[in-house]
């Protein structure tokens, strides 16, 4: 297995205010797999993604990525791990306002020794015409495409997506999902996507349903539906 989570636990607060967000998560994901973490608000899916991304720490449990044990990593090593292996896409685009589309993507390329060709990626993302625009000249969908470009240009082993369509309308949301699907197929990155949109599970290889900090189901899709054909 490329990615293995064993008994991941996490809680917030102290004493009476203590809330257990993850209550012993076990999960394994294959390399190149498209995994969707589904669940309502407060189910712990974003916390799990943050722990996977090395921007939050589990209270206990083990995470193994490509044989490396995350618990052994100090802050410096975690940064290096993120730099080498991870791409992140958030619901908010978090683009740098005074850099152009191309430059925002280069911000990601700078971090990688095996970065993808930026021009080619701009074409794949459908941003070639907009490459010299600043974020405030773009629509929400174009901004999210740019943030996907920034994450994917590193050619990361794992692409972590936290509600990437949460702030987008139906049509744009579908475009973004199509793009992530294309990226997954073209570059072979493992994709882990957090969403509360039940329809998205249809395009995944693996669907993990979370509720109340626990995995309620972990299933493999026998037949996937293309993002283009999703309806919600």
């Amino acid at each position: 297995m490329f990615l293995q989570l064993q008994q991941i636990k996490k809680s917030f607060g102290k004493g009476d205010n203590r809330v257990e967000v993850l209550k012993g998560i076990d999960l394994a994901v294959e390399k190149g797999e498209f995994c969707v973490l589904l669940g309502p608000s407060g189910s712990g899916k974003s916390t799990l993604l943050n722990i996977l991304g090395g921007i939050d720490r589990a209270d206990s449990g083990d995470i193994l990525i490509g044989g490396e044990r995350m618990a052994d990593m100090n802050e410096k090593a975690l940064t290096l791990y993120r730099r080498r292996h991870l791409g992140y896409i958030f619901q908010m685009y978090n683009l740098i306002p005074n850099l152009t589309v191309r430059e925002n993507i280069e911000v990601g390329a700078y971090l990688s020794r095996r970065a993808l060709d930026v021009d080619e990626l701009l074409h794949v993302l459908g941003l070639w015409e907009h490459r010299s625009k600043l974020p405030n000249q773009l629509s929400g969908g174009q901004q999210q495409r740019t943030s996907i470009g920034r994450a994917i240009v590193k050619n990361p082993d794992i692409l972590l997506c936290d509600e990437p369509t949460g702030a987008l309308d139906y049509k744009t949301g579908k475009e973004i999902l199509t793009l992530i699907e294309t990226v997954n197929q073209k570059y072979g990155n493992t994709v882990i996507m957090v969403t509360h949109n039940d329809a998205i599970r249809l395009m995944a290889d693996r669907v993990v349903k979370l509720r109340d900090g626990q995995i309620r189901s972990n299933t493999l899709n026998a037949s996937k539906v293309s993002a283009r054909d999703l309806e919600w």
Binding site: I55, T79, R82, R83, F90, N94, L95, L99, V107, Y110
Partner: protein
């Protein structure tokens, strides 16, 4: 691949031009001025030091009653010196000043022509450049003596033996306003009506090296001179204040200027750091994302530090360029305003470059690194959540009483939100006002000194008698006795209520000897029992109020003084303080003084009188202390530092405006979304300004009010330290009752200008700001 984040820098510079421009202007002005000062200082010191050889400066001079005859000259030169005529005549001018006129010099203390031409005709004269400046004289002007003679000024000169215009070596301060030197062509000089003073300069055939050797050589030569002639005055070059004072004083401001530079850089570094922390807060999600993508903390710290360092580097480069060209001349002008120095050549000064470029950049890097590394230490998740608080758990709002009106509570919240920025604002205002207080208080203190001295003089004229050197010649005891008798007879007078007093001069102990300042002369007065002029409360020993204040001595203390060139020390128990601010002096009954110093019963060394004494021959008068002499210090300081005070005040206001502008701007930018939302809710521009602008206004007023007493306290410490370090005598720091109102007014007017800009900024915040994506 270079970091693509670097591409932000130029765009950031363009979009925040106002902010960076004001910081850069302040840095360029500071660095440029200090760089110019250091270059001018270095070049001037080099010119001064090289002047000794270039202008063939004397090793000393002595004054005699009449011209040396051949035998006397031969006897003196046999001691291993070359003698040069350095005679002069002193003319009292109609403008109230005294001009010491020499025939043009070609062998020793040669003349540096600064402007115009040397005199050729008998009615032409070249005068000291600084004396000309201080008396607004230009080439072509006519000088008229009280005797009626008049001369045309053909040029301005610097005489190397008068780089500092001390008319008398015993003076506490030089006087470039009422005393000047000049040269004339030999014919013109010979035609002068004023009596000639027979003055000779000497130069050793073999130069003594160390200070001790110089002293030994001078003492040996004085014995030879004293044996051959009747001496009136004997001044070796190392003791001649007109030659040495400039060299000792130059360079003393250097550390103050460098400290000023570094304080301003530190303040600006903190202003930069605070504004950058604000930018980090604004870009919190971007930073969180970048950290999540794998950007290291170091990369981000370097990125956010780049702009302060870049602005400092550019400012340092421009500042140094200005320093080496334009500002250097202004700074040299300040020296030329105090000293009569020869022309100088600009010297490259590596120290100045390092101190005004490398050190400011290093300070900027260190302070920004310290603040930013701390801010960026937070985990990426906290940035993504816009939670930049270092405390764990959610920050709770400080409970405010509901009794307070809503607007007041709102303003308090704004102040609490910006406490860090306001702390930097306070430091900035404190420093700016410290400079301003210096600029306002020094002229006040000097004016007050001049005014109070007039009411506080012992008498209108103190005449100090000078025993002829012939009366002290131990090798010719009979002659000495006759001279002394003659001196006694010819100096007895009772004109203008003249009252004799005995006088003795001792030195305070230097810091090396256990004192608190440089060694200086203390005049000990022995006064008549029922003196008309000095009414001592008893028969004990009383120190002047100036002495008590400078050395912090009170009744019951003991003061220790020593002989000038000897190790003999005297410890005197102080019985009280006599209200006299004109000099560092000690008063006691005449008999007591004569007894302590074994001067003999009936000895006296001078007269107090209501008017100048005219009956005593001038050759027996050592010096006259009148109002002009007592206010020489304040007059000269006013002239030499007056022009600088305007500059200091301007600089102080500039720092104040820059700091208030930047931090006020930051408070508004930080709250742009809330301001926008308030506009959407229907608050008008005035109401919003009352919420956000009045918070800063209240803080600025509070900072001004709180900082004023602190500044006065610091100024008192600084002023005391400066006076102790740099001058003899004492001027107390007088705080004018109008100081606080003036400083408050300067602060409020400067702030009003900034507030108008900030008000316009608030009005320009668009309503859609609140609807934008936070990032």
């Amino acid at each position: 691949m270079k970091s693509p984040l670097n591409k932000r820098l130029l765009r950031e510079l363009r979009s925040e031009m106002g902010k960076y421009a004001v910081i850069a202007i302040l840095l360029v002005a500071t660095i440029g001025f200090v760089s110019g000062f250091l270059v001018a200082d270095f070049s001037m010191i080099a010119a001064y030091n090289e002047g000794f050889e270039k202008y063939h400066i004397e090793d000393g001079h002595f004054r005699v009653e009449s011209a040396l005859n051949r035998a006397q000259a031969k006897a003196l030169t046999a001691a291993g010196v070359t003698l040069y005529d350095l005679h002069y005549r002193e003319a009292s001018l109609k403008n109230g000043s005294t001009l010491r006129i020499y025939p043009n010099r070609t062998q020793v203390n040669t003349v540096c022509l600064m402007q115009g031409a040397l005199p050729a005709a008998a009615t032409e004269i070249a005068i000291d450049r600084m004396y000309a400046d201080n008396n607004s004289l230009t080439i072509g002007d006519t000088l008229t003596a009280a005797s009626g003679e008049s001369w045309t000024v053909t040029g301005f000169v610097a005489l190397p033996d008068y780089s500092c215009l001390f008319s008398d070596n015993s003076d506490a301060m030089f006087d470039a306003v009422k005393f000047g030197v000049a040269v004339m062509a030999p014919d013109g000089y010979a035609a002068l009506q004023e009596p000639q003073t027979w003055n000779y300069a000497w130069v050793y055939d073999t130069k003594p090296g160390s200070e001790a050797e110089q002293k030994d050589a001078a003492e040996d030569f004085m014995k030879v001179v004293n044996k051959a002639v009747s001496l009136q005055d004997f001044v070796p070059a190392y003791e001649n204040q007109a030659i040495t004072f400039t060299g000792e004083d130059m360079g003393s401001d250097r550390s103050m200027m460098i400290a000023l530079l570094y304080i301003i850089i530190v303040i600006m570094a903190f202003v930069f750091a605070v504004t950058t922390v604000n930018t980090i807060a604004k870009e919190s999600s971007v930073i969180g994302t970048l950290r999540a993508l794998g950007y290291t903390r170091g990369e981000l710290v370097r990125h956010y530090m780049a702009m302060p360092v870049l602005v400092t580097l550019i400012s340092a480069a421009v500042g140094n360029l200005l320093g080496y060209t334009f500002l250097k001349d202004i700074c040299a002008g300040m020296y030329y305003g105090s000293y009569s120095l020869p022309t100088y050549e600009t010297r490259w000064n590596a120290d100045a470059f390092w101190m005004t470029t490398a050190v400011p950049v290093a300070l900027m890097i260190f302070i920004n690194w310290f603040v930013l590394a701390r801010t960026l230490r937070l985990p990426p998740l906290q940035f993504l959540r816009h939670d930049l608080s270092r405390r764990s758990g959610r920050k709770r709002a400080l409970p405010l009483p509901k009794l307070l009106p809503f607007f007041t509570r709102f303003r308090i919240r704004v102040i609490l939100q910006n406490l860090g920025s306001y702390a930097v604002l306070f430091i900035g205002i404190l420093f700016a006002n410290l400079l301003l207080s210096f600029g306002l208080m020094l002229p006040d203190a000097l004016n007050h000194y001049s005014e109070t001295i007039a009411d506080n003089m012992l008498c209108s004229t103190q005449t100090l008698l000078q025993i002829p050197y012939s009366a002290m010649n131990e090798d010719k005891k009979l002659n000495a006795l006759v001279s002394m008798m003659l001196f006694r007879m010819e100096t007895e007078t009772d004109e203008n209520h003249a009252e004799p007093f005995s006088a003795y001069t001792l030195q305070t102990l230097s810091a090396q000897e256990g004192g608190i300042a440089n060694s200086e002369s203390v005049m000990l007065y022995g006064v008549e029992p029922d003196s008309r002029y000095v009414a001592l409360p008893g028969n004990g020993i009383y120190i002047s109020a100036a002495y008590a204040e400078k050395y912090r001595v009170a009744a019951g203390d003991t003061v220790t003084l020593r002989e000038k060139y000897e190790d003999t020390q005297y410890s005197l128990s102080v019985d009280g303080v006599y209200d006299y601010m004109g000099a560092i002096a000690i008063f006691m009954p005449r008999e007591t003084l004569n007894q302590i110093f074994d001067l003999g019963t009936g000895y006296y060394g001078g007269y107090f009188s209501d008017a100048p004494l005219t009956e005593i021959d001038e050759k027996y008068i050592g010096s006259v202390i009148d109002y002009d002499a007592l206010t020489k210090i304040s007059r000269q300081l006013t002239v030499s530092m007056g022009s600088m005070m305007g500059l200091v005040n301007g600089f102080a206001i500039m720092i104040f405006v820059v700091v208030v502008y930047l931090l006020g701007k930051m408070v508004i930018e930080k709250n742009a979304q809330s301001i926008s939302m308030a506009k959407i809710l229907g608050y008008n521009g005035g109401e919003i300004a009352r919420l956000y602008l009045l918070s800063t206004t209240a803080v600025v007023l509070l900072c001004l009010a709180v900082s004023l007493p602190i500044e006065v306290y610091i100024m008192q410490l600084l002023f005391r330290a400066i006076i102790l370090e740099s001058m003899t005598g004492w001027i107390s720091l007088w705080v004018s009752p109008t100081l606080y109102p003036r400083m408050m007014a300067a602060g409020i007017i400067s702030y009003a200008a900034v507030a108008i800009l900030e008000y316009r900024r608030i009005r320009r915040v668009p309503m859609d700001e609140a609807l934008k994506n936070v990032e």
